[in-house]
């Protein structure tokens, strides 16, 4: 849609397709059709923290799954980890920790598979500006049915792992403060082992597709929505990637450490959230650097860039191959997210294999108790990046404060920069087509954002449209 206001043309893409929730991109063009400004607006419900205030702490790991229909397991586990700390749990039993890890790797596996096969592959297989009638998962199913089936079955496998560890597919109850409420039966284990080799093979194949595509198109992809940035993630004590637990590490665009091995209970000493008047979503930044240069990326690209190694052999080999492209320095190419996401896909299935062959999963010591603390922070590396949950609980067991920073919030500034760069590089001074607009969406999709929660009733999504001129004045605002 293109409209004209005060000699400035406004191009609005709404909603952004194939990302979660509600997003809107506003691009301002001047009289010469040069892009003046491009912004990704995110319609985010900010009422969730209030919603859980007053609820008993043990309900929180279940309640928070209502936040999102795509990554409920990540919220479930982050909240459980926070409540571990609230209840003074120092260390989970081996069975509890490994069951949670299995749940988490199942989530990572299905999420990454869904994103790559069904959201991204249409862009890669048909081209960014291909006919939208075929540039979708149905088009992939028609032309590359084997690939589409792989995506469906990998997603299904991950979902079954979640069901077996969380207890059920929706509103899982597996993780509880201090542990887990079930182990994995021999029958469940064997059902997953039966299909494991196929999943590993398909993961290798997906990684090869992502790597080959990136290498073959590097000249085009390198500048596409790209920029130098800091990177943040959890890291194991020995510097290895750990998607479930660790300490915080932040590096700059050259790979220099900004901070390392920071206990995430103290995240407020290191991370600040900035509010801007044109977006519902906050803009976090590293406190010691400041808002202007302290923003950072999270997610697969940040994790592979920031870790020193990966503790599964095939993913580690893939990481080395990836880092060789930039001679060991961080890779700041936005479209490299896809390659790193597939490295993590392979890592996740390798971890699932290790866990399924670990008899601790059949253990019966599931919960430990500690000395009450009343406040705790839980962090986890969700598929889209680092997820923060922070709670305070009173003596009556009621939550009195909750603060959540979701992965997409961390990537807010980078996504906006990607949108602006692609808009200026591809949309300035030309006739704007659907294919060109899709270039903007391709840049956003690289981050696999989860823009809001899962209210998706048929026929309508809540949406607010804001028109802002190049000086920041609000020209128009509409809700529907």
């Amino acid at each position: 849609m293109v409209t004209t206001t005060n000699n400035m043309n406004r191009v609005v893409i709404e909603p952004v397709t194939r990302v979660e929730g509600h997003g809107k991109v506003t691009i301002l063009l001047d009289e010469q059709k040069q892009v003046q400004q491009a912004r990704l607006h995110i319609v985010e419900f900010r009422g969730f923290e209030r919603f859980i205030q007053g609820r008993p702490y043990w309900e929180v790991p279940v309640l928070v799954q209502r936040l999102c229909g795509i990554c409920p397991v990540s919220h479930h586990l982050a909240a459980a980890k926070a409540m571990d700390y609230v209840t003074g749990t120092e260390k989970l039993t081996p069975t509890a920790e490994k069951m949670r890890r299995l749940m988490h790797y199942g989530q990572m596996f299905q999420s990454h598979a869904l994103h790559f096969f069904h959201l991204v592959s249409p862009d890669l297989l048909f081209g960014f500006d291909a006919d939208p009638a075929i540039r979708n998962v149905i088009g992939v199913a028609a032309k590359f049915p084997d690939l589409a089936v792989q995506g469906v079955m990998m997603r299904k496998y991950g979902q079954e792992v979640i069901k077996a560890t969380a207890g059920k597919k929706i509103h899982g109850t597996g993780a509880i403060p201090g542990g887990i409420n079930k182990n994995l039966s021999i029958e469940e284990r064997d059902s997953f082992l039966k299909d494991l080799d196929q999943m590993i093979e398909w993961s290798r194949s997906a990684l090869k597709i992502a790597k080959d595509y990136t290498v073959e198109h590097l000249e085009k992809l390198a500048p596409f929505g790209s920029f130098d940035s800091n990177h943040l993630c959890l890291i194991r004590e020995d510097g290895a990637m750990d998607l479930y637990h660790g300490n915080l590490r932040a590096i700059d665009a050259e790979g220099n450490k900004i901070f390392d091995q920071v206990n995430y209970q103290k995240y407020l000493d290191y991370i600040v959230e900035e509010v801007r008047n044109w977006s519902y979503m906050k803009f976090p930044f590293i406190k010691s650097i400041g808002a202007e240069d302290g923003w950072y990326r999270v997610g697969p690209l940040a994790r592979v860039n920031a870790c020193d190694s990966i503790d599964t052999p095939e993913a580690e080999a893939a990481r080395k191959e990836f880092m060789d492209v930039t001679k060991g320095k961080p890779n700041n190419v936005t479209m490299a997210y896809h390659w790193t996401r597939m490295i993590e896909l392979l890592h996740s299935i390798e971890k699932i294999k290790d866990l399924l062959n670990d008899s601790d999963l059949q253990g019966t010591d599931l919960v430990v108790k500690g000395e009450w603390r009343g406040e705790g922070v839980g962090l986890i590396e969700a598929p889209r990046g680092t997820l923060f949950h922070h709670y305070q609980v009173n003596k009556d067991d009621q939550v009195t404060m909750a603060n959540l920073i979701v992965s997409t919030t961390h990537n807010n500034e980078p996504m906006n920069r990607a949108v602006e760069k692609v808009a200026k590089d591809h949309l300035s001074g030309v006739e704007i087509t659907e294919g060109l607009l899709n270039h903007v969406e391709v840049a956003i999709r690289a981050y696999d954002p989860c823009l809001s929660c899962a209210t998706h009733a048929m026929g309508k999504m809540p949406l607010t449209v804001k028109l802002v001129d190049h000086e920041g004045n609000l020209l128009d605002e509409k809700s529907k």
Binding site: E20, F48, F51, Q65, P72, V152, R155, K169, H171
Partner: protein, 174 residues
Amino acid sequence: MGESACTVLVIGYGNPGRLDDGLGPALAEAVAKLGIDGVTVDSDYQLTVEDAAEVAKRDVAIFADASVNDPEPFSFREIEPTGSLSFTTHDVEPAAVLALAHKLFAAKTRGYILAIRGYEFNEFGEHLSPKAMGNLDEATRFLTLALTHRDFTPVRAEVQNKDAANDTTPPSTD
């Protein structure tokens, strides 16, 4: 038209933490309690691609969701597998799930949407609005009859209301 031998999958989807968006899962819960032979019930936050694999195993798939603009108290209609391709999010529209089931698994599953009218979506809360609860009751009565008699003829909601009130006859065609 009765099809007593046909297998059916009912998927109720939506977010029970978002007020009336929980109508789909609430319907799934109600239907699951009935234990009707040959009827499998599933529930999720939203439809995704892997649902196509389960849909493909059945003769009929019924997608139950909250709606903001369908007729009160509900509507029930057949969908074509080609359907809308407008993917707005990670989730998938019912018609696309059906299309994937047909294309990827050579299924001939027929698909239907049961759209239950809701009213309140934009806040967090684990309860249905009073009007939505009434609509849920109507939709559950309708679907119970449809599943019992394996009659999936699309009907107008207001016609079905009358049938539901009279209770014992299968859904009628308008």
